[in-house]
């Protein structure tokens, strides 16, 4: 069992995934709930790619000042590769039984952490297409239709460079399933149809945006009619007002969700005493009360990684936002379509490189 520290500690949490929007409120509750464990939680934020470099510098010097990292699969995998995360397997007993509390697909994604981290938020992501109903009367229903539509409506479809964009990357990983490619998990050998499709559709795309925000803005201001999206990128921008509320989403026939999750990981070099507090904090974060905050404003819709966290547990404004901008059809879509875990880091980087070389390099 966990031992409380001799005196309350200060914990530094670094967020590289944009996860604090979903969890900061819950974490702040922890210091109130357990003041004898943690006196304060300091939050810092950083772009994901650079964080491992900083941790390496700290670890090489033997002074780690970041206690907990909230990360997506990218930095998680990078850190695993470089051996900068603490192995949590010796402490399994101090954590809840993950398999029993997680949503099944979330538990599948938990495997990606290889016992070096714990999922805190999870969502099915995409790929979805988002369009303006007044300009797209008959939205494409399959990949082939999408291609045909872009041929007729040149330059009206856009997606962002996958390595800079969540929806872009989900679209990339989801295509092999849509096109029934040989091996959806091997971009180098098994994605022939995908690459051919992207090359062909690329002829009808003016350029690849440098980020999702850009694609959403062009959709909003009317320069483009269809963009790729995810559940979160559908709801949240409409809440924020970057995309008109009337925008619609659709799916392409035979699609598989490529899910996404955020993890809590502990860098190597954190003291035993603090580690105990961190494990306790993880327990706290996996309670349904904490998880309910993950509904946020739809940014990671739905958000909670554990079972049985209904929207009604979420804060008032969350509920209001989702009532207004949420989409009832998501529940059915999630239930009816297969869920896949994303590519592991190495494969994903390979996919990015191939995309850059074969697809992206043709524009500019």
């Amino acid at each position: 069992a966990l031992k409380a520290p001799s005196s309350p500690v200060t914990i530094t949490v670094a967020d590289v995934a944009g996860n604090l929007a979903l969890t900061q409120a819950a974490m702040e509750r922890y210091t109130q709930a357990k003041p004898e464990w943690a006196s304060r939680i300091a939050f810092t934020k950083a772009p994901a790619p650079e964080l491992p470099a900083k941790l390496k510098a700290q670890q090489a010097a033997g002074r780690v000042d970041i206690d907990l990292v909230l990360t997506g699969t990218d930095a998680l995998a990078a850190g695993l590769d470089q051996g900068i995360w603490t192995d949590l397997s010796p402490y399994k007993a101090d954590l809840p039984d993950l398999q029993s509390i997680y949503i099944p697909q979330a538990f599948k994604m938990q495997a990606m952490a290889k016992d070096h981290g714990v999922i805190v938020s999870y969502y099915p992501s995409g790929p979805l297409i988002e369009y303006m109903p007044d300009r797209v009367k008959t939205p494409p229903k399959s990949a082939e239709e999408l291609l045909a539509w872009t041929k007729e409506n040149k330059n009206k479809f856009i997606y962002a460079r996958p390595s800079n964009s969540g929806p872009g990357r989900t679209f990339l990983m989801g295509l092999p399933y849509l096109l029934k490619d040989a091996d959806p998990r091997d971009p180098e050998k098994g994605w022939d149809k995908t690459w051919a499709f992207l090359e062909e559709i690329g002829q009808n795309i003016e350029y690849y945006a440098s980020g999702t925000t850009q694609t959403m803005r062009e959709l909003g201001e009317g320069t483009r009619d269809i963009v790729v999206s995810t559940t979160g990128w559908d709801i949240n921008p409409r809440v924020l007002g970057t995309v008109p509320a009337e925008a619609e989403v659709g799916t392409l026939a035979g699609f598989h969700w490529v899910t996404d999750a955020h993890y809590m990981v502990v860098p190597k070099g954190v003291s035993e005493e603090k580690l105990a507090v961190l494990l306790d904090l993880m327990n706290f974060m996996l309670t349904p009360q904490s998880q309910a905050y993950a509904y946020d404003q739809g940014y990671f819709y739905p958000g909670p990684a554990v079972k049985d966290v209904p929207l009604s547990m979420a804060p008032e404004e969350s509920q209001a936002a989702i009532k207004e901008f949420g989409r009832p059809q998501y529940e059915a879509w999630i239930a009816e379509n297969p869920l896949e875990i994303p590519l592991d880091a190495e494969k994903l980087v390979a996919a990015f490189r191939i995309w850059d070389e074969r697809i992206g390099a043709k524009k500019g």
Partner: protein
């Protein structure tokens, strides 16, 4: 009147005198604080980086370099970067010099100077965001041109070469301008007047008098501006086509180091980047060696 005999002269000047004749004296020692700071803070980490680049994840010690120079997707970044950085730097200087020459003559320079220097305060992000919007298909720029009938359909000026070009121009210009203005005004006006009385037109005064006197300053400005443009990164991603025409060398280094997490390759690319810049900079500074360096005062006072 006493004349000193030769015997009384010191046989040999003191060490201090001899050192001074070679350029070593108290003043020379002033390089030490800066030199020590740079040696201590830079040289060791830098050598570490060099060694890192020579210890690839797999293969012979030169594997990273071999890979860079055998993969067109990597080595093409050099030309792509040069193709951006050189024209932008030149254009910036070409703009800065005449404008500085005009501003020099103005009596109320402060407002104009402030306006022209303003872009250095913006930061890459604001420039990128602003240009994306301003030059975008629905931005004020295209809208205005359509409104006054110069265009039918919006020009595409972002997410390609020109977007990055514009952002480098905006962020680089004040830099070149500020330095040029200060260098230009350091030249004694009497020299220009002398040239004028000898029949030199404004153009020849510029080429024969000002330019040679400005060469040290302009070459340093060029080098620093070039280095800055060559290292372009965020704007190449945000405003350019990071997989296409504006795939600059920083992107290659970044993606090696932070996407592939191959820091050894990343270091190697960074060192190649430094080497290319060094070549350009040495060429420019070498040219400068042919010109006069010294006081820009031609007069007694």
């Amino acid at each position: 009147m006493v004349l000193q005999g030769a015997a009384q002269r010191p046989a040999r000047p003191a060490l201090k005198t001899r050192l001074a004749a070679k350029g070593f004296d108290g003043t020379t020692l002033l390089v030490l604080p800066g030199l020590i700071a740079v040696l201590a803070l830079f040289i060791y980490p830098f050598l570490y980086g060099v060694v890192d680049s020579l210890t690839p994840q797999a293969g012979a010690w030169y594997e990273n370099y071999r890979r860079f120079f055998s993969d067109p997707f990597l080595y093409n970044t050099i030309s792509a970067t040069l193709w951006l950085a050189l024209p932008v730097t030149l254009l910036n200087l070409l703009l800065a010099v005449p404008i500085a020459f005009r501003v020099r003559l103005m009596r109320r320079q402060r407002l104009l100077t402030t306006l022209l220097v303003l872009p250095i305060t913006l930061g890459t992000v604001l420039v990128a965001e602003g240009l994306l919007n301003f030059l975008g298909p629905q931005g004020w720029f295209n809208r205005t041109l359509i409104l006054i009938g110069l265009l039918d359909t919006p020009l595409r000026l972002t997410n390609n070469y020109w977007g990055v070009f514009a952002s480098l121009l905006i962020t680089g210009f004040p830099f070149a301008f500020l330095l040029t203005l200060s260098y230009v005004t350091g030249i004694d006006p009497a020299i220009e007047q002398a040239a004028a009385t000898l029949g030199a037109s404004a153009w020849r005064r510029f080429t024969r008098i000002f330019l040679p006197l400005l060469v040290p300053g302009l070459s340093v400005t060029f080098c620093l501006a070039f280095v800055q443009a060559f290292a372009v990164f965020p704007s190449a991603v945000l405003l350019g086509a990071p997989a296409g025409a504006t795939r600059v060398i920083s992107i290659a280094a970044y993606s090696a180091a932070f996407e592939e997490y191959n820091h050894s390759l990343g270091s190697a690319i960074a060192i190649i980047m430094g080497a290319v810049q060094l070549l350009v900079v040495l060429a420019v500074l070498g040219l400068r060696g042919f010109f006069y360096r010294g006081s820009a005062s031609g007069t007694k006072g």
